[in-house]
């Protein structure tokens, strides 16, 4: 069987309409490849991700979570473009958490492109071509994959195949060659006779036709939707208050749960006296979990109040652990040899030949995702079935985990995926999903009632799965002209596969080593994953080298980048757009940084000044982005705006600190997230005209922000930022305040 046929699936007829059934699953012998609930009479499922109604409505099933990135609109556009669908009739629905919606196009995108597979998916995919471990669990949102893999490999093919089948159906009905027919706005047209048929009239017949083996795509010059900024489909509900998130689920006879886990990560619950909670009206149960205590009550506020009345005793974890100790331990660990990641040339010989050595130590703190929707989950276990309501970036994994923990066969677990009120990676990896075992146990205790568990914001902070706190030491040797002869680096490794340690600069002798330094604090993927720390290390250090060589940071970088590469292009574009060659206004300085991640290159030039109190004021960020063809210019811009502001927020003031083995931050009051007043007045974002492979957009805007900020601060004050965040350091630095006064007076 041809691989493509296997991937796309075959047609299935349903009562009153046609269904191009989902998946090669039908061909693979699992019966009808159609989710039973998906098509009603009068509707047809076309090639899995699209459903066409007799009324011409087109419903696109989204295999990715909506967590704010506008991905639904972009994916629907890619399908509707190839389908030639009438856009106002196009709607989206979340794909059910069902194996038949497993996202084989994600896997295929990785396999065929044979490039950077986001580490987020390690463990579910075996990168050897053709053997995709846990194939069935791929319904994941993350790694900036939606448009470039699902869209390119899945949505466009599905739309093109569906259009061809509709054309074939019209050709049969009219007895004319398919080649004489064209399509536009959900109609098949026969120009010679002036006849036309609506897609809704043809859907049932189309479903009975064989699936074409080879999709025919439009020429980009014929695109009508791609490249335009059609309004996002999700926005009207979000301005009217009717958009429903997991936390908004309301079910008959629903109970509420509040939970408190051991503040010390890695600890466990030893004992709790439930009496004070059980004495309160409305409290139904006190539940002891391995590392937490929970209260189930008829009201959420009752559960919260009752939980606060308990005095649970926790033990374990590492009471001696603090951020200071962790960083000191990392610094010591970096003195020892690590696992070699890059070994090019001979760094020892380069040391002998060189004229100048530059040596720097960097560190970055734990960061919290701090999505605006606190962690929550709703579930019901009754009559041998388990139902789950909530947002997840990894739907099919969550389903199989819920089934395992509930002790039920997979078919008995029903997922109701909900949009996420932000996520940024928090709902990505299995090891980050510390709410999942909690809700399974609570559903069993509350059974047969459904139960909604909501973490307090304090719990959300205390029980995060943070961007890890990490360190790196980098050394380089420069020749007489200031060019780097060698780059020697050791970095503290992360739990998952690190995909960001490589440097983009052409340096003949390189040694890059990863050093393990485990600790019990829960960590995971945070928007742009390992690029957050490696972008800071690499782009700060290259700036240090440029200054050590007394060369312009832009010229210095360009000499080390492959000509014509995406990075070289965004470097030049950002420099040009920011007026890099002209002096900044008095009292201001600029810094530049550039990082390629998830297939997209981004350069930021950040222009800032300092107040008399030593507080930076960012006036302008000029960005150049090369992500290949832009599908939806406005959502692309939204993603870069959001990435810049999240990166700036983190670099300025965010840090999770640990004391006594527990996280110290409790709420937004001690975790300063950027607010309106701190937003740079100018975000000047430019997308390069580009025809290369599609890159992601959710994440790549983040990594260059922190180093651009630090590099600008160095240019202004001479104070080199080697640790994040910057605000506490500037406040502590008398010299920064003096310099600020000197530059502003």
């Amino acid at each position: 069987m041809k691989r493509r046929t296997l991937l796309i699936g075959s047609a299935v007829a349903t009562a009153g309409g046609l269904a191009l059934g989902y998946v090669g699953m039908a061909a693979m012998g699992s019966g009808r490849g159609l989710p039973a609930s998906a098509a009603a009479p009068g509707e047809a499922i076309l090639a899995g991700w699209v459903k066409i109604g007799e009324d011409d409505s087109v419903t696109v099933y989204l295999p990715h979570a909506d967590m704010g990135q506008g991905v639904g609109t972009a994916l629907a556009m890619m399908l509707a473009e190839e389908l030639d669908a009438d856009w106002p009739r196009v709607r989206t629905e979340p794909a059910p958490g069902d194996a038949r919606f497993a996202n084989r196009f994600l896997a295929r995108g990785w396999v065929l492109q044979n490039r950077q597979i986001p580490a987020l998916f390690d463990g579910v995919i075996d990168t050897t071509f053709g053997t995709i471990a846990g194939f069935i669990k791929l319904q994941i949102t993350g790694g900036s994959t939606a448009v470039r893999f699902t869209g390119q490999s899945g949505m466009r093919i599905t739309g093109a195949l569906a259009r061809m089948m509709l054309v074939d159906a019209a050709a049969q009905r009219w007895g004319v060659p398919a080649g004489e027919l064209s399509t536009a706005a959900s109609r098949v047209l026969h120009a010679a006779s002036g006849r036309s048929l609506r897609y809704g009239e043809l859907a049932a017949e189309a479903a009975r036709l064989p699936l074409p083996s080879q999709p025919r795509f439009k020429r980009p010059g014929d695109y009508r939707l791609i490249g335009t900024s059609v309004p996002r489909l999700d926005i009207p509900a979000k301005v009217g208050g009717s958009a429903q998130y997991g936390i908004d689920v309301r079910l008959p006879e629903m109970r509420y749960a509040a939970v408190l886990a051991t503040p010390r990560h890695g600890g466990r619950l030893v004992a709790v006296d439930p009496a004070p909670a059980l004495a309160m009206a409305g409290v139904e149960r006190v539940v002891s979990l391995p590392d937490a205590v929970a209260v189930i009550a008829t009201r959420y506020t009752t559960a919260r109040r009752a939980l606060a009345a308990l005095r649970p005793r926790f033990e374990g974890g590492d009471e001696s652990l603090s951020s200071e100790r962790l960083f000191a331990g990392q610094r010591a660990a970096l003195e020892s040899e690590g696992k070699s990641r890059v070994a090019i040339g001979n760094v020892v010989q380069a040391s002998v030949d060189g004229r100048q050595r530059v040596d720097a130590h960097y560190q970055v703190p734990f960061l919290h995702h701090a999505a605006m929707e606190p962690m929550n989950a709703t579930a019901q276990q009754a009559e041998g079935r388990f139902s789950y309501w909530g947002g997840t970036q990894n739907l099919l994994w969550a389903r199989s985990e819920l089934a395992k923990l509930a002790g039920l066969p997979l078919e008995q677990v029903t997922m109701h995926p909900m949009p996420l009120g932000g996520s940024f990676g928090r709902h990505g990896l299995p090891e980050m999903s510390n709410h999942i075992p909690q809700i399974v146990r609570l559903a069993a205790e509350a059974s047969p009632h459904p139960v909604k568990m909501i973490w307090s914001r304090e719990e959300d902070f205390a029980q995060g799965a943070y961007r890890p706190a990490l360190s790196s030491r980098v050394q380089a040797v420069l020749d007489a002209d200031g060019r780097p002869l060698s780059w020697e680096q050791r970095y503290i490794d992360t739990a998952g596969r690190n995909e960001a340690f490589e440097i983009p600069y052409a340096i003949a002798n390189q040694s890059i080593e990863a050093v393990d330094h485990p600790h019990p604090i829960r960590t995971g993927a945070w928007r742009s994953v390992s690029h957050t720390q490696h972008g800071f290390y690499t782009e700060t250090f290259i700036d240090e080298l440029a200054h050590a060589a007394r060369q312009d940071p832009v010229e210095y970088r360009r000499a080390l980048l492959p000509a014509g590469s995406r990075l070289a292009r965004v470097l030049d574009e950002a420099a040009r757009r920011s007026g890099w060659r002209s002096a900044p206004p008095a009292g201001r300085a600029r810094g530049i940084a550039l990082v390629e991640s998830f297939g997209t290159a981004v350069a930021h030039v950040l222009e800032l000044s300092l107040s008399d109190e030593g507080v930076p004021r960012v006036h302008r960020i000029t960005s150049a982005v090369d992500c290949g063809r832009v599908i939806h210019p406005d959502t692309a811009r939204q993603q870069v705006e959001g990435a810049i502001l999240m990166g700036l927020s983190a670099a300025l003031g965010e840090q999770i600190t640990v004391q006594g083995g527990a996280v110290q931050q409790r709420n937004f009051g001690d975790y300063p997230i950027l607010r309106m007043a701190q937003v740079p007045p100018e975000l000047d974002i430019h997308f390069l005209a580009s025809e290369g492979p599609l890159g992601g957009l959710g994440e790549p805007g983040v990594p260059p922000v922190a180093p651009a900020l630090g590099n600008a601060l160095f240019a202004l004050t001479g104070l080199r930022i080697r640790a994040l965040p910057v605000l506490p350091q500037l406040a502590a630095s008398a010299s920064a305040r003096r310099l600020a006064k000197a530059t502003t007076s």
Partner: protein, 165 residues
Amino acid sequence: MNSPSIATLELQVNGTRHRVAVAPEEPLLWVLREDLGHTGVKFGCGVAACGACTVHLDGQAVRSCALPVAAAVGHQILTIEGLAAAQGGSGKALLHPLQRAWIAHQVPQCGYCQSGMLMAAAALLAHTPKPNDEQIDGAITNICRCGTYPRVRKAIHAVAAGAFA
């Protein structure tokens, strides 16, 4: 441990009178969400720090997560669900000018904080029809993790300039 005493309170929400039996000190947020179904009002922090729960009390923006429900008795409560109708129209056809500006400028990303943002902006414009940037900074202290701030600012200025009158 004593359980709080339950009282029957009368609330005016979006022009409709409701009677609820709750503890008077319970935050207004949870009564609006769980008892009255106004889930557009969001829980973000519980300590009046983030603004996701912003509603109007007699036209003033207040953070309902830290306001005892008893303190709202006798006042007109307006939530995001009532913002459009408060313009004198009803149904989806007549949105508040800010809501139309929010759509035109494609402001929301995840959308979770946007109810609170809109309510804070509506209260600002009701008192300061043409705010400058500093006044916007002072009134819009809500947190948006997605970073929609630049578009929020643009949309407010557009409404102030009469673009959505």
